[in-house]
């Protein structure tokens, strides 16, 4: 609403030379008040993700029904369905008095659904959508997102930030940033679906499922730690000074390119395995022999009692796949596929039990949150998530959807997303140490398989 960017609050400002100007910060409240006293307990898996943030950017082309005021109205309407999003985090210390509503009094984060709303940032970009998609770098894309880390007072800190950026041709970029404690990338992407459905005045195919006891476990005593998580928790947290600066790039693989790639591999290879193997080989470079790759899998539909798509929370399971890099791309891809297909649900439950027991220990250095994504190279499989179903105008899917996970310092992250054209086409977002990203962007192998660098690095922008 305020047109002039006269005074910009500290923290809102983008870097010098940026094409995006953020000019106002406000709070969007839901339409219907929340019943007072409502709380949402976070699962042990949610609590473990404290170090990470989720960022999703949705690009919508200009349309008559798409303007700032109407988007804000539909946001308020959809927030009525997500009382946990408009709440605030408080810590429950456990063992304090009688449990409120029969829940076991356990330690951990609890969302007090006090109806406070989500933060909204209004911004403007000095480019048209097509110009932006053609020329923006991966790091510039972060200007379309806004996030404030938790300060000393969690009770007045909003876990969600929505940035509405208007391009010169009235297209919009909707940037959602949130703490991973609340949502994993799947849940964040499906929130956009719900928002788009509310904008079109209909209901979403994936309504939110806020059910805290989905991951309720009660292990009798401290269970044995799963090896991968034990290693992560005991890894010395890297000081930000010596961690290499990370940068991101996005590669687009059109459907024919992916089909060509798959045809050169063993039959039955999934696009995720093929692309994960490709990038694993190219990022690790000339290393040979048996290596391990961490995969982050969305377990919603892989459980015996599958969770609905709209499950609100994190269902990310980390597992380690092993393959011999010298055996070539087809073998590595096949090894990844075999591993992914064979991950038992038991592993996930062991991880949840161990995280829960660890969480119940009194506050202290040993039991604090640790980095889950990384520090080793991690591939995140998100290409099964229906991200392009968020149609703000009927029949007009988003031009592009981007996803980032923050807090993954170290060797980096490779996220495989679906692409706008659907089918086998894929987008791959890599967040690696800066020089590794620059190297991969120019990598001949990757480009030979038909990749188009969409959001590259500052140095090189060859398509």
């Amino acid at each position: 609403m305020p047109a002039a960017a006269t005074t910009v609050a500290a923290g809102l400002a983008t870097g010098p030379g940026s094409r995006v100007t953020r000019f106002a910060k406000s709070t969007a409240a839901s339409v219907t008040p929340v019943r007072p006293g409502k709380t949402h307990t976070l699962s042990p898996l949610d609590n473990a993700m404290e170090r990470h943030t989720v960022h999703v950017v949705l690009y919508c082309r200009a349309a008559p029904g798409l303007d700032r005021e109407q988007l804000k109205e539909s946001l308020s309407e959809v927030l009525s369905l997500y009382p946990a999003m408009t709440g605030r985090l408080t810590r429950r210390e456990g063992g304090e008095g009688a449990p409120a509503d029969g829940e076991p009094s356990q330690r951990g984060w609890v969302v007090k659904c006090n109806d406070a709303g989500v933060r909204m940032v209004d911004a403007r970009a000095a480019a048209t959508l097509d110009e932006w998609l053609a020329t923006a770098t991966g790091d510039e894309e972060m200007d379309l997102l806004y996030y404030e880390p938790m300060g000393p007072e969690p009770y007045i800190w909003s876990p969600f930030y929505v940035q509405l950026t208007e391009f010169a041709d009235k297209s919009y970029a909707l940037g959602l940033s949130c703490t991973h404690i609340h949502n994993d990338p799947t849940a964040a992407a499906l929130f956009f679906q719900a928002w788009a459905a509310a904008h079109r005045r209909t209901t979403s195919t994936y309504p939110p499922f806020l059910h805290a006891p989905a991951f309720e476990v009660s292990p009798p005593s401290l269970p044995p730690p799963p090896p991968l998580l034990a290693e992560k928790s005991s890894a010395a947290s890297p000081a930000s000074a010596d961690a290499a600066a990370m940068s991101s790039a996005t590669f687009h693989f059109p459907a024919p390119a992916v089909r060509a790639l798959l045809s050169s591999l063993e039959p039955g290879t999934t696009p995720f395995a093929a692309l994960a193997a490709l990038f694993w080989l190219r990022v690790t470079g000339a290393a040979n022999g048996e290596r391990e790759l961490t995969l982050a899998l969305d377990f919603r539909k892989r459980m015996y009692a599958p969770l609905p798509w709209g499950y609100y929370g994190s269902v990310v399971h980390f597992t380690r796949a092993r393959a011999d890099l010298a055996a070539g791309l087809p073998a590595v891809a096949a090894a990844l596929d075999a591993h992914v297909a064979g991950v038992p649900e038991e592993d996930l439950w062991r991880a949840v039990e161990w995280l829960y027991a660890r969480q119940q220990q009194p506050e202290g250095g040993a039991a604090g949150p640790f980095q889950m994504y990384g520090p080793e190279l991690t591939c995140v499989a998100l290409d099964h998530v229906p991200m392009y179903g968020a149609e703000f105008e009927a029949g007009a899917p988003p031009a592009r959807v981007s996803c980032r996970v923050g807090g993954a310092a170290g060797e980096g992250l490779v996220i495989v997303l679906p692409a706008a054209e659907g089918g086998e086409a894929r987008d791959v977002v890599v967040t690696l140490p800066a020089e590794a990203t620059a190297r991969v962007c120019r990598d001949g192998e990757v480009l030979r398989h038909g990749a188009q660098v969409v959001f590259g690095t500052k140095a090189g922008k060859e398509a």
Partner: protein, 493 residues
């Protein structure tokens, strides 16, 4: 005309009181009926032919002519010089947009992020809001949703709020009444704290293309009771205008430019309580399609006393921030202003029985020096519905106590405060809309609107219903089924 309260069962004094009321209120009938009966009996005894014969014999033509002409002439002169009755055709209130809603937690979070407000001020505002009687659905204008709000409270934003509120209410009103903007002859707008150039009336004229000879006025600075002042002004103009004149009265308060950016506690109250709202009413001096009749407008100004003059005062705090200072003895002054207003309106609306009792008690207190308590007239004999300015919980409590009203009679005020907050001069119209949306209004019901405002002013208007509302359309349409709600003393949030 009068509907006395129902007979209480099994109570000796109650029965006596009811009989007394019926006798005194209909005193004229009680006296004339026996006299007329005696006259009829006398005529019957004399015989009708003898009586008329005597009359015709003794009367001369001049006498007959005068006997016919004089009463007719007197009646005609009386009817022509009587001021025209003023009617309310319909009214519409601004329907708040649901995404302008400000829950408590959001309000307090924003307050904590404003650097000027310190811990103490935020605690004070929290306590105030908890006990204020406001609910979770009150709305603030879009500019107040930004962090920090005062940077975005520009002149344009204020005009935007006026567009939203005033034009919203007027669009609703024109749709409801079917009147075309070109038929408006008089336009009165009141908005106390925002006075742009060109004024509100010019904005309305520009937007709706009103005629060039519309008699328009903008009342600014008149406080929260200005709604009834506008109605009174429109009434004065309608009373001397030709039949069929239409007057548009718009009451609103623009709160965008009035965010107090300081930490003086007495001046933080308006920030906490004032909310966005506005109403438009169409008045006319012809009874066609009218829904209410305006019977009295009584205005009482107590500004001659210093304490009343300074109790709601706009001033700068120690740091130069402008805000409205509410004095601690506001309730006492409001009570006094109310007493003065009741004394003025009482004789106009109370039935003869109550006035007699009040006069007797007044005389008794003067003559006999015993400790007689002053008799508070029972205004439930004069009115069926009460719309008390929703200035805050304390105001409504104070009025309920001093007028001896039941919870049901102040329900409209309390619920309007809960749902809409303090919308200043338009709160009376929201309360009337509540009563109608609840279906409690009947033909012949009398409504008392009481407004309070800076000055210190207490204004009253008495209306009588001709046609109640047919539907619950209006600001309460989406919420009325949830009301009345129980408002706790201290809200948990």
């Amino acid at each position: 005309m009068n509907s006395p309260p129902p007979l209480p069962a099994g109570n000796g004094t109650g029965l006596l009181k009811a009989v007394y009321r019926r006798v005194v209120d209909n005193f004229l009938a009680v006296v004339t009926v026996p006299l007329a009966a005696a006259a009829l009996v006398a005529v019957a005894r004399f015989g009708p032919e003898e009586l008329t014969g005597r009359l015709l014999r003794e009367a001369r033509p001049v006498h007959l002519f005068l006997a016919a002409f004089l009463p007719a002439a007197a009646a005609t002169v009386y009817l022509m010089l009587r001021p025209r009755a003023v009617y309310l055709v319909d009214y519409a209130c601004f329907r708040t947009a649901s995404n302008c809603r400000v829950p408590f937690s959001t309000f307090l979070e924003h307050a904590k992020q404003v650097p000027v407000l310190n811990e103490r001020s935020v605690r004070f505002m929290t306590k105030l809001l908890e006990r204020s009687g406001l609910g979770e659905e009150t709305c603030l204008p879009p500019a107040h949703h930004y962090i920090p709000p005062y940077k975005y409270c520009t002149l344009d934003a204020a005009r935007g709020e006026v567009d939203l509120v005033v034009f919203g209410a007027l669009d609703d009103l024109f749709a409801k009444t079917g009147i075309s903007p070109g038929a408006i002859d008089i336009l009165v707008v009141n908005c106390s704290l925002f006075c742009p150039t060109p004024s509100f009336v010019d904005m309305i004229i520009n937007r709706y293309k009103l005629r060039s000879d519309v008699r328009s006025m903008h009342l600014s600075g008149m406080g929260c009771s200005a709604g009834l002042i506008s109605v009174g002004l429109a009434r004065n103009l309608l009373q001397v205008a030709p039949r069929g004149t239409h007057a548009l009265v718009v009451s609103t308060e623009t709160i965008t430019p009035n965010y107090y950016v300081g930490s003086e506690r007495a001046m933080l109250l308006p920030n906490c309580l004032f909310r966005i709202g506005g109403a438009a009413a169409l008045l006319s001096n012809s009874p066609s399609r009218a829904r209410f009749r305006l019977k009295h407008v009584v205005r009482t100004l107590t500004g001659a006393q210093d304490s009343a003059y300074t109790c709601v005062f706009q001033q700068e705090d120690d740091y130069g921030n402008v805000g409205i200072n509410l004095n601690k003895d506001l309730m006492t002054i409001a009570g006094n202003a109310l007493k003065a207003n009741i004394t003025a309106i009482g004789p106009l609306v109370l039935p003869a029985s109550e006035q007699l009792l009040f006069a007797l008690s007044f005389i008794a207190r003067r003559v006999l020096s015993g400790g007689f308590r002053p008799y508070i007239p029972d205004f439930r004999t004069a009115f069926e519905h009460f719309c008390i300015h929703a200035g805050g919980r304390a105001v409504i409590d104070e009025l309920q106590r001093s007028l001896g009203l039941s919870d049901e009679q102040v329900e409209a005020s309390r619920m309007a405060l809960h749902r809409f907050g303090n919308t200043s001069s338009s709160s009376l119209w929201y309360e009337l809309a509540y009563i109608e949306a609840k279906g409690r209004m009947r033909k012949g019901d009398r409504v008392w609107m009481i407004g309070f405002g800076s000055g210190f002013k207490c204004n009253s208007a008495a209306w009588e219903c001709i046609v109640p509302a047919a539907t619950a359309e209006g600001p309460w349409a989406t919420a009325i089924h949830r009301y009345p709600v129980d408002i706790p003393d201290v809200l948990k949030h």
